[in-house]
Symmetry: C2
Subunit: 230 residues, 2 copies
Amino acid sequence: MLYQNTGSSPALQKSQLEDPLAHLPCGRISEYRRNEIIYNSEEPRHTLFLVVDGRVKVSRGTPEGQQVVIDIYQADEFFGEGAFLPGHSYSETAMALEPVKVMAWEISEIEDIVTRRPKLGIALLQLLVQRSMDFGSRIESFSTDTIPRRLARSLIRLSDRLGEQAEDGSTRMLPLTHEFLAQYVGTSREIITHHMNQFRRQGYLRYSRKGILLEKSAWGEWLKQNSAAA
Amino acid sequence: MLYQNTGSSPALQKSQLEDPLAHLPCGRISEYRRNEIIYNSEEPRHTLFLVVDGRVKVSRGTPEGQQVVIDIYQADEFFGEGAFLPGHSYSETAMALEPVKVMAWEISEIEDIVTRRPKLGIALLQLLVQRSMDFGSRIESFSTDTIPRRLARSLIRLSDRLGEQAEDGSTRMLPLTHEFLAQYVGTSREIITHHMNQFRRQGYLRYSRKGILLEKSAWGEWLKQNSAAA
């Protein structure tokens, strides 16, 4: 119940979805160094990207220079879908979080393939619906959750999406900085540090050399105890 | 510059987009009374809806009973796209804000038509990208804006989407309650009332018998003066 709105798709559900990759020919491959910009809003863009290897951060910049993380994408995930809108002007930036390999297709090429293989259209539709339902869940969290609860739900979502099981049963997350978490949760780095320290003291997470370890089994209880109504 | 992130598509951009309605046969028509529920999360749903007449509010409920408004949809706009995901479980509710006429298609039917008319796939893709970029803008606003700025951007977005030009050059919005604005902006009704009164005293909006009148020309300046950095 509590997890249903984090937007991660259970394995069962995933298996019923069409796979866009089954319908796409290989695209043009490019490589990027850590922290290199893949695209930003300075030039109009007509390309859809797929992560082949590594991780990519997509963020929005405000006119005042603040950054808001939209999401992180990893192998087999698409990004840059804004290019489907002719004349779009969203100030989005995609940056390599580590050495990254991506595949790229022109939107006109994708549209041609959809015409010949309509299942690709269905697959991309499902993917975009998933993404927009997921954004809906974040809007819900922003609207109703306290900052520690927003942080907790973000940690759970990010570890569901990008984490891996550690030997001791906990979940190892990407080595995400407090700065990153602040840009994802929508608060200051100082506030993130404060709550991460509290979570650590209370045993909900540990820091290791390789990243943050999350005690997943404990978080369901935390969310119940710290519900918006409590 | 300031308006580019509100998510409303300028007429020029709109004209370059594919129109899903050009590729769809008529669906089954139903009518709903004011405040009647069109769907909620209690039963699995396999239907995509189009508003034919009237306005529909789509919202999410939290386990604690709070409501978050996702958006309002009006004539020629689709809603219920979550049904594209097999086994989805988002707790979404669609309610008629006034007497409403909607058209409905089974998702399987839409998928069949996409197979025969792939342009429908492209059209729906563009629509979903637009929607998810728009959600991205709301996430950006939640992350970086103060409450009055979030309210200001919401009023501008909602009047761009759902308003009409009044005789004196101002924009007449739907008669939205403060309760609705609170569920859209993510704050309490009391705080909305406080800021709406301030906006009214400062001449940015007026209340009339038919709804809220927005002095659109003044808001660009307000946003500049009340930027996140200020």
